[in-house]
Symmetry: D2
Subunit: 106 residues, 4 copies
């Protein structure tokens, strides 16, 4: 996400004084709620989905994730790279290749 | 997210040949599943959460969102700005300020 | 669910003094969290699931639903029949037959 | 749930020929989607919720759980009691009393 888009999201929140509602817990609920509106695009079919709806709901998830990074003062690249370090250890290529099993079952 | 982090996520997937599992529907499920692991950090308390767990689960949501952008060939800034256009119309400042009501009830 | 099973769930909660954590909001989070552990059984495949895991996670959803009925003093049959009245109006047989569209698109 | 209510749910499905959409995976998605509509009742506040909405969304979760029990040929009391056996072992009263920690941290 560019700095300009991030700035737009922050101004959207501050213009409406919505930081008061953005506790980490409320944002966690919001991310789950939007993730399920995204999931609803695929409720009865994996392939026959409305791409415009998918874009809108995925964007909603991303916006609330941005809000959560902001409220907690987190750096997106830092936490993603920290988690990728863990994922690379949990799913070594030789075991995980062509395999969708969870690491606990690999 | 920097290009370098995006590249790392893409290589993680391609090294394991996991694109075969990354249908949009499966990724929508995955985003919801990880969003709920994030929500679990706040299951019984809004304030007494483990920040390290929050970082890990939020990162997981972001990684699957990145995978979904990739599989659908979407540009993150484009879809977020498209949705922000909609949000700004649905939630005009004069109505939405200091108000957490849904746009359908404003 | 038989009265005996309901009684067992209630005693499980009261023996542990867990009613203090069972606010409606916390139980709503819990239902979503367990619903997503159920969804995880189908994360990468619709057909290749572990039936024992499915049973356990579906049971968890049902137990938290029971807890929510209890905390709010609701009667399961009453609310389900109230909702079925609504569903039967939203999805008239002649329009909804062989059709998975949402009522807003029927 | 009484036999009469269960019968009503089954006829609702069969009258519309909807069993064709009721794969276990689709129902797992549906339970999660409805659980998140329930969660939305508590998105910005734990206490200021609309009870009528809560009843409707909780009913939706229960109806899809019933559909899933039916499609898999499961007995509700059997799977709940099987899970309660597990829960009672994972959360012994002396450790779990007045404590909301997950069993892995008890």
């Amino acid at each position: 996400m560019t700095e300009q888009t991030i700035k737009r999201i922050r101004e959207f929140v501050s213009d409406r004084d919505w930081a008061q509602y953005h506790s980490p817990a409320n944002l966690a609920k919001s991310i789950s709620i939007e993730a399920n509106e995204l999931l609803e695009c695929f409720q009865w079919s994996d392939n026959d989905y409305n791409l415009q709806h998918v874009k809108e709901e995925l964007a909603d998830v991303l916006v609330y994730c941005r809000d959560m990074l902001d409220i907690l003062g987190l750096d997106e690249d830092e936490i993603v790279n920290m988690k990728m370090d863990m994922n690379e250890k949990k799913y070594p290529v030789e075991k995980a290749k062509d395999n969708s099993k969870k690491y606990t079952e690999l």
